[in-house]
Amino acid sequence: MYKKQELKNTQRSKLLNSFLTTFQKRVLANPPGVCCISTHIAYLRTARSQTCGKCVPCAKGLEQLEKMMQKILDGSADMDLYVDMLWLAQTIKDTADCAIGYEAAYMVLANIKNFRDEYLYHIEHHKCQANVSVKVPCMYNCPANVNIPGYIALIGAERYADAINLIREDNPFPTACAFVCERPCELQCRRKLIDSAINIRGLKKFAVDQIPVDVVSTPPRNVPTGKKIAVVGGGPSGLTCAYFLARMGHSVVIYEAKEKLGGMLRYGIPNYRLPKDRLDQDIRALLAVGGIEVRCNSPIGTEITAEQLEKEYDAVYLSIGAQKGRVIPIKNYDNPNVASAVEMLDRIGHGDLPDFTGKNVVVIGGGNVAMDCARSAIRCGAASVTLAVRERQVDMTALPSEIQGAIEEGVELMTMYAPSEIRIDENGDVVGLITKPQITGHYDEHTGLPSVRDADKEPYEIPCDIIFMAIGQAIVSEPFAAYGVSPRGTLMTDSTTAIKDHPGVFAGGDCVSGPATAIMAIGAGKVAAANIDEYLGFHHAYRLNIEIPEVKSNMRSHYGRVNLTEKSARERKKSFCPVENSMSHEEAMQECSKCLRCDVFGSGTMKGGLL
C-alpha cells in the first residue's frame, strides 16, 4: 500500500481549470433559440460525466435517463416513455448518494416541469416548437433588436454617421445607451466561445463621440397620416414610441409632468454617469424628426384626464415610469433628514445640489439606485457615506462595476445589516441607524437568491445625520386606475403592450415592467409604436437603406477585450463630471475587428436566423 507522496500535477489542473472556464463560456454563450431539450440533455450528459461510478442510480441510471431524453429529443418517444422517464428521474433523485446524482435527476424533473410544453410537443409532433431556431445573440437579446453586427461593421469602416443612423433605426437613444446601457447584447456574444464578448457599448460610445448624434441628420419623416397619438411620459419609452410614430407620419403629443424631457435618464441617473448635455443631444435629434408636440409640466389628472386623452386621440401610449421612491416605515422614518434615494436624485437632476459637508450619510439598499445615491452623496461633500445592505455583496442587485466604483470613491459597504430603527436626539436630528445583523438562509424560489433573516446577534448602530432609502420605486398609477393595476402597482398589458378592453390604449416601460433598464423601456416604446401603427390600420415601413460593409472572414485568434477605463477615484469624487473614458481609435478598430459577424456567418443568413 505504501506509496511515495507526490505533488499534484499543477500544470494539469491548471490546464483543466482553463478548459472548464472555456466550457463555462460555451455554456454562457448558448445561442438564443436552441432547443431547450438539447440544452437539458447536454447538462445531463455533463452531470453523468461527473459520476464517480460508485452508485448504481447515478452511474447507470443517468445513462438510461440520457437515452430516454435523447429519444424525446429525436422525436421518437411516446407518452409511455415520458412517464417512465419521469419515474426514472424521480427514483434516481430518491436513491442517489450524492449531489452529482440527485441534483442531475432533480434538474431533469425541474426542466420537465418548466418546459413541459416543449417536451410534449416533441412527443406529439416529433419536432421542436415552431419558434425554436438559433438567432444572432446580440440582436436577439437587445430589447430593441438593434442591428449590432451592422453598426460595428460601420464603425470599423469609420462610417460613424451611418452607424448612428443604423442604431436609430431601432433605438433613438444611441448616446444615452452608449453611457448607461446594461448591454444584454453582450450576454451571449458568440465571441465568448473564443475569448470574451465584444465591448459593444464601448464601441457605440466611440461612435457617438466621433459625431454628436444631433449633428447627424435625423432620417426623414413620412408624409402626415393625419392620426394623432398621445404619449404620457417623456422618458426613454415615451420618446422612443413618439419618435417612431412620428417617423411613420403620425402626429404625437407628449404629456410630461416635469419641466424637461428624459424621465429617469435625466432625473434618476446622475450626471457623472450620463451627462445631461449628451442626453440632450439624443432628445434634440429625435425631436428633429418633426410632428412631435411636447407639453412639459403637464401631469395627467390636472389639466386633462386619462379618459379625455382616450377620447381626444386616436391612440394613447402610457409610459409614466416608476417615479416614486419607496420607504420603509421604521421608527422616525418621517424625519426631515430621512428621504428616498429617488427624491434625492430627482433634486440633483433638477440642478439643485445639496451640501452634505461634514455630514454622515447612510444609504439603505443594494441596488443600482443605492449606488447612484451614495456616489452622488460623496460628490455633495459628505464626510462619510455608508451603504447598509441587508444581503451579501454577491446577492446585491447593483452591477459589480457600480459597487466597485462606489467603494473606490470611499463609500463604506456594510452588508448583512437590516435597518430596524432611526434614532434621533432631543432636537429631532437623526443621530444613527439601528440595524439588525442578518444571516443568509435558504434560496428564495422567486428571486433565485438566498433569503436573509434576523441573526441571533446584538443590534448594531451606524451613527449618521442623513439617511436615504433606496429600496425600490413605485408607480404613480392612480390617474390610470381605470385601466387596471396589478398588486405590484404596475399597469397590465399583453405582450403587444395593449391594455385589455381599452382599444387604442397601450402602455410600456417601467410602469409595466416595474423599475428596469433604459433599453427595456426603449424596446417597449418601439414595440408599442409598431402596434399602434397596426392598430390604426397601417403597416408602415420606414427603413433607411444603409449599406453594411461586407466581411471576408472572421478574426479567430484569441484577443483580450478592450474595457473602458475610468478616471481616478480621487478626481471622480470631486465633481459630477463623467467618470468613464472613451476608447481610442486604435482600441475601437481592434474591437470591431473581433466581431464574428453572426449576421453573415452561421444562422444569420438563414430565413429567421437573425431574430
Binding site: M1, G53, C55, V56, E63
Partner: protein
C-alpha cells in the same frame, strides 16, 4: 456502553445502539433487507442502493447499510416505493451485465440471480433498460483468477477487500467513460504485478465477474463443503474443501477466528492438488538391498520387516539406538500416537519434531522465562486496536500471509510499526522505524532497548517488582549495552534505537511479534529470552494487545510440541525428568518408560554418523531438504542400519529409506491442528484417495502391536480423549466440543473451561517471570576473507518448506519456481554480477549454482536465499551450528563466497 435509541421498523419498535446502522438493527431483529455491494466493515460504500429503505419525514430513500439510526427514526423496509427502487437498481445493473448464466461458473451462487428471483424481476427481455455491451477484454492469463468485465456490476467489494482487508491494494476501480470496471491484474503481465494471488477478491464477488478458475469445475449446489483447517502455516485459517465426486475441486474461505474469512494463495489454491497428485505413494515400498531399487510390498511384509529390524536394533544396541521424528504437518492425534509408539514400543525418549529447526528456541526460551513456550496473545488481540507492533525477525506477509494481512490492516489504521530485520521486507516500507540490524545480533538489540528503557526511567517498576525476579542482575548486565555500543554491534543508528525503545516503552498496547529471524541462530534461545526480558521490563505481558508472540511455522508445529513429540517432554510439556509425571504415564500406558531425556532431532544425525542411533522412523519430514548442511544429513541417513519413512510422497529423504510407508493427508483424516495462538481446530476427512494408504495412527498402532506393545485401534476423537485424560492443559478439549462450534485455546483444563486466549494474566505459568541476563555472543560462523558474505535463508509467499504440497500446484510453480539469491547492488557491482546472472555459491560445506537478484533488499555484505527450491538448495550451504539450549541450527547466518558461474 453505547447510547441506546428507539426506532421503529415497519411499525414495530426496536431498541438499538446509537452507532448501529439501520441494516445492523434490522438483521439483529430478523428483518430481511437485501444487499449486494455491502460487506460489513469492508465495503459499506452504499453503491448498489439495493438496501434502500424509507424513513418517515424524508422524501428520498436511505441506504440502510451506512445510515446510522437516530432516536425516533421510523423505517419502512417493505413499502412499494422501496420494492420498486430495488427492482430499478437491479434492472439497471442487469442492463450492463451480460446474462449468460448457462456458461457462468457462478450460476446458482450468484447474488444477482438470487435477487432477480426474490424481487420477482420479469425476464431479461423485459428489462426496460439496455446498455451498449462494453468491449472490454476478459483477463484470464492468471493461473488462478479471471476477470470478466461483462459480468461486473462495479460493486467494488473486490477492491475494498484487496485494500482494506488484504492490505495489498492492487485491485483498483477504473473507468471507461462513465462505466466502472476493475483493473484486475490477471492479464498477460500478471506475474510482474504486486498481486499476491490470494483470491480473496474472488471470494467476495457477488457475480461471476471476478472468479477463481477452480470454480469452473463445479456448481456450488453440487459439491460437499467440508470445513477444515489449512495445512500450510500455523495461522490456522479455516476453510471449506469443496468436494465433488470424491475429488477436491476448490477451497472457499470460512470465517475462522484467526483468518476472519481471509486466505492466502497457498491456502486458497495450494491446499488440495497434492492430495490427488498422481505421484502419491499408494503402496508400501521395500528397498531391495541388492538392486537399490524400491519394490512394492504388502503392509504385512513392510510392517513385519520394520518390527523385526527395529526389534533387532533394540535388542542389540538398546532402545536409545532407535529414534522417531513426528510430523509438524500431521494432526495432534497422529503426533500423539507417534510419540506414544516411540516411548512405549521403541522404549526411548528419542522423539522430536521439526520444531527443532524452527521454534524449539521459543519452546525452550519462553518455558524458562515465563513457564509456557507459546504465543502469549491471540492474533486478533495483537493486530486489532494496538498502538504499536514491534516486529522482530519476521516477514509475516510471506511466511504467515493472513497474519501479515492483519498487520497491514492495523498499520493502515494507524498502528505504529517498528521492524527489526536485516532485510528490507515489504512491511519495512510502512514502518515508522526499520532497524536494519546485522544478522545474528538480536540479543545485543534487545539488551540495548532494555538499557535505554531503564536509563530513561521508562521501566514498569511495579510490574518488575510484583511479577518478576532477577531484575537487579539484568540491570547490571545491560549497563554495558549502551546505545552506542549496541549501534556498533548491530550496525545501526543509536538514535534510532533510542526512539524505538521510547516508542515501545511508552505505547499503551504493544505486542512483540517475532519469528525465525530470532530463533534460527546458535543463540536462538537467548534471543527469545532477551525479548521476553524486554517485554517484562515494560510490563507488556499478561494483558491484551501485548505479549511475546512467536509466529509458529507449520500448521501443527505447536501441536506436535504440545503432544510430546519432544525428547524431554510428555504431552503438555510434562517433563520426562519428573518422576511423578513418568509414573502417571507408566500407569496410563501400562508400560515401563525411560527416564532419560532423548536426543534432539538435530543431534540424531551426528549420533547416527557415530552409530549411536541405528534405526530411525521419520514421519512426514524431509530433513535432506529442510535441515542445514545437507551433505551431513545425507551422510547420517546413509549411516543408519534401518530407516523408515512414512510420507505422502517419495521425498529426497525417502530415497535413503529401507521401507517407505504411504500415509494419508489432512484431507483424508479426522483430527485437530493447534495453530500458533494455541487454538485447537478441527481437521475433517473430505475424500478417500485410491490406493493402499492407511491412516497414520493405524500404521503406528500396527507397529506398536508388532513390536510387542498392545495398542487397540482408536478413532481420532478417542485419541483426543486419551490426550485430554493425560494432559492437564488439554483436559477440557474434545472433538465433541469443537464440533459443537466452540473455539478453544489451551490451557483448557476442564470440560467447562472456555480456553485461555491470553497467557500469564495476573500470574506467569512459571510463577514469577524470570529476567535472565543474556550477554550477546556473535554467530558461530562469521564472514572472513575466504567466505566474505553472510547468507540468510527464509521462505517466500508462494511455497512452503520442501514444496511437497505447493510444488504440486502448477500455478504456484509458474509464479515462483526457481532458486535465487538476493545480493546488494554494491556487492554485485564489485563482483561484476548483474540481475539474472547465474552465480556459484560456496560455503565450507558445499556449493550450489543459482540466479542472482540484485537490489537493496539486503545490506552490503549480506545475502538471502529461499530454501525451497531443488535447483539450488540453500541447505547445502547452511551451517548446522546448534543452539546450546534448544539445539536449533543457525539457518540465518553462515558464511559463503559468491562468484559468477561459468556458462
Amino acid at each position: 456502553m453505547a447510547e441506546k435509541v428507539k426506532i421503529t421498523i415497519n411499525g414495530h419498535e426496536y431498541e438499538a445502539e446509537k452507532d448501529q446502522t439501520i441494516l445492523e438493527v434490522a438483521r439483529a431483529n430478523g428483518i430481511y433487507i437485501p444487499t449486494l455491494c455491502y460487506l460489513k466493515n469492508v465495503n459499506e460504500i452504499g453503491a448498489c442502493r439495493m438496501c434502500v429503505v424509507e424513513i418517515e419525514g424524508h422524501s428520498h430513500l436511505f441506504p440502510s447499510c451506512n445510515t446510522k439510526v437516530w432516536e425516533g427514526m421510523a423505517v419502512r423496509t417493505d413499502s412499494e416505493k422501496v420494492k420498486l427502487s430495488r427492482q430499478f437498481v437491479l434492472q439497471l445493473m442487469l442492463a450492463h451485465h451480460t446474462v449468460r448464466c448457462l456458461s457462468c461458473s457462478k450460476s446458482g451462487d450468484c447474488d444477482l440471480q438470487k435477487l432477480a428471483v426474490e424481487l420477482e424481476l420479469p425476464t431479461v427481455e423485459a428489462n426496460p433498460y439496455e446498455a451498449d455491451t462494453a468491449k472490454l477484454p476478459a483477463r484470464t492469463d492468471n493461473p488462478f483468477l479471471a476477470y470478466y468485465p461483462e459480468l461486473c456490476i462495479g460493486c467494488q467489494r473486490c477492491v475494498s477487500v484487496c485494500s482494506r482487508r488484504v492490505g495489498n491494494g492492487v485491485l483498483n476501480a477504473s473507468k471507461i467513460g462513465t462505466r466502472t470496471y476493475i483493473e484486475a491484474p490477471f492479464g498477460p503481465d500478471w506475474k510482474n504485478t504486486d498481486c499476491e494471488l490470494c483470491g480473496n477478491c474472488a471470494s467476495v464477488c457477488p457475480t461471476g465477474a471476478l472468479v477463481a478458475k477452480n470454480m469452473g469445475k463445479y456448481q456450488t449446489g453440487n459439491v460437499n463443503r467440508v470445513l477444515t483447517t489449512c495445512p500450510h502455516c500455523a495461522t490456522g485459517c479455516q476453510f471449506y474443501l469443496m468436494v465433488k465426486d470424491n475429488t477436491i475441486v476448490d477451497v472457499h474461505p470460512a470465517d475462522g477466528p484467526s483468518n476472519k474469512g481471509l486466505l492466502c494463495v497457498k491456502g486458497r489454491f495450494g491446499s488440495f492438488n497434492f492430495v490427488h497428485s498422481p505421484d502419491r505413494l499408494r503402496h508400501p515400498l521395500i528397498k531391495n538391498r541388492e538392486t537399490g531399487k524400491f519394490e512394492q510390498a504388502t503392509w504385512d511384509e513392510a510392517l513385519n520387516l520394520i518390527a523385526e529390524k527395529f526389534g533387532k536394533i533394540k535388542s542389540e544396541y538398546g532402545a536409545d539406538a532407535l529414534a522417531g521424528f513426528a510430523c509438524s504437518r500431521a494432526p495432534n492425534e497422529d503426533c500423539y500416537m507417534l510419540q506414544k509408539m516411540v516411548r512405549c514400543a521403541f522404549g526411548t525418549n528419542n522423539v522430536d519434531n521439526c520444531a527443532r529447526v524452527c521454534h524449539s528456541a521459543t519452546v525452550a526460551g519462553l518455558a524458562m522465562t515465563l513457564g509456557s513456550g507459546a504465543m502469549t496473545n491471540p492474533i486478533a488481540d495483537i493486530t486489532e486496536d494496538v498502538d504499536l507492533i514491534l516486529l522482530v525477525g519476521s516477514n509475516p506477509e510471506e511466511a504467515h500471509p493472513v497474519i501479515g494481512m492483519q498487520i497491514r490492516q492495523a498499520v493502515s489504521k494507524g498502528t505504529h510499526l517498528i521492524v527489526v530485520d536485516p532485510r528490507k521486507i515489504r512491511l519495512s516500507r510502512e514502518a515508522d522505524i526499520h532497524i536494519r540490524l546485522k544478522p545474528g545480533t538480536n540479543v545485543a538489540f534487545a539488551n540495548g532497548m532494555i538499557n535505554i528503557i531503564i536509563s530513561e526511567g521508562l521501566a514498569d517498576e511495579k510490574f518488575i517488582s510484583e511479577r518478576t525476579e532477577g531484575f537487579e542482575a539484568l540491570k547490571e548486565m545491560v549497563k554495558d549495552y549502551t546505545p552506542e555500543k549496541v549501534a556498533e554491534i548491530c550496525h545501526i543508528d543509536a538514535d534510532q534505537l533510542r526512539e524505538a525503545a521510547r516508542m515501545y516503552a511508552t505505547a499503551k498496547k504493544a505486542p512483540i511479534i517475532y519469528c525465525l529471524g530470532v530463533t534460527e541462530h546458535s543463540s536462538g534461545t537467548e534471543g527469545v529470552m532477551s525479548l521476553s526480558n524486554l517485554a517484562m521490563v515494560v510490563g507488556k505481558l499478561g494483558r491484551s494487545g501485548c505479549g511475546v508472540n512467536p509466529l509458529r511455522g507449520q500448521n501443527n508445529v505447536q501441536g506436535a510440541c504440545d503432544m510430546g513429540a519432544l525428547p524431554g517432554d510428555f504431552p503438555g510439556y510434562q517433563k520426562v525428568t519428573n518422576e511423578s509425571v513418568v509414573e502417571k504415564f507408566e500407569k496410563a500406558w501400562n508400560v515401563k518408560l525411560s527416564r532419560k531425556p532423548g536426543l534432539h532431532a538435530t543431534d540424531v544425525f551426528p549420533a547416527a554418523v557415530r552409530k549411536e542411533v541405528r534405526g530411525l522412523f521419520i514421519f512426514g519430514e524431509d530433513p535432506v531438504v529442510s535441515d542445514p548442511d545437507q551433505g551431513h544429513v545425507i551422510k547420517a541417513l546413509e549411516s543408519l542400519d534401518f530407516l523408515v519413512v512414512c510420507d505422502l510422497f517419495k521425498t529426497r529423504t525417502a530415497e535413503y529409506a529401507d521401507v517407505i510407508l504411504p500415509g494419508t493427508s489432512y484431507a483424508e483424516k479426522e483430527g485437530t491442528f493447534s495453530n500458533t495462538e494455541r487454538r485447537v481446530q478441527r481437521v475433517r476427512k473430505a475424500v478417500t484417495v485410491e490406493g493402499e494408504m492407511r491412516l497414520d495412527t493405524d500404521i503406528f498402532t500396527d507397529l506398536m502391536n508388532r513390536m510387542g506393545y498392545p495398542q487397540p485401534y482408536l478413532r481420532a476423537d478417542e485419541i483426543m480423549d486419551e490426550i485430554a485424560s493425560l494432559t492437564p492443559s488439554f483436559g477440557g478439549i474434545s472433538h465433541k466440543r469443537l464440533d459443537a462450534g466452540e473455539s478453544l485455546q489451551w490451557p483448557c483444563p476442564d470440560k467447562n473451561h472456555p480456553g485461555t486466549p491470553i497467557l500469564h494474566v495476573g500470574k506467569f505459568t512459571r510463577g514469577l517471570g524470570l529476567l535472565r541476563p543474556i550477554p550477546y555472543r556473535a554467530s558461530q560462523e562469521l564472514p572472513d576473507d575466504e567466505y566474505p558474505f553472510i547468507l540468510m535463508t527464509g521462505r517466500i509467499l508462494y511455497h512452503y518448506n520442501a514444496m511437497a504440497m505447493t510444488g504440486r500446484t502448477k500455478g504456484l510453480v509458474e509464479k515462483a519456481g526457481a532458486s535465487f539469491i538476493e545480493v546488494n547492488t554494491e556487492d554485485a557491482a564489485r563482483l561484476g554480477i548483474a540481475e539474472g546472472d547465474r552465480v556459484k555459491l560456496s560455503s565450507r560445506r558445499g556449493s550450489i549454482v543459482t540466479t542472482a537478484r540484485v537490489g537493496d533488499r539486503v545490506s552490503v555484505g549480506e545475502t538471502w536465499m529461499p530454501f525451497h527450491f531443488a535447483d539450488g538448495f540453500a541447505n547445502v550451504l547452511t551451517n548446522a551450528a546448534l543452539d546450546e539450549y534448544a539445539r536449533i541450527p543457525e539457518y540465518k547466518v553462515c558464511a559463503i563466497k559468491m562468484e559468477k558461474a561459468a556458462e
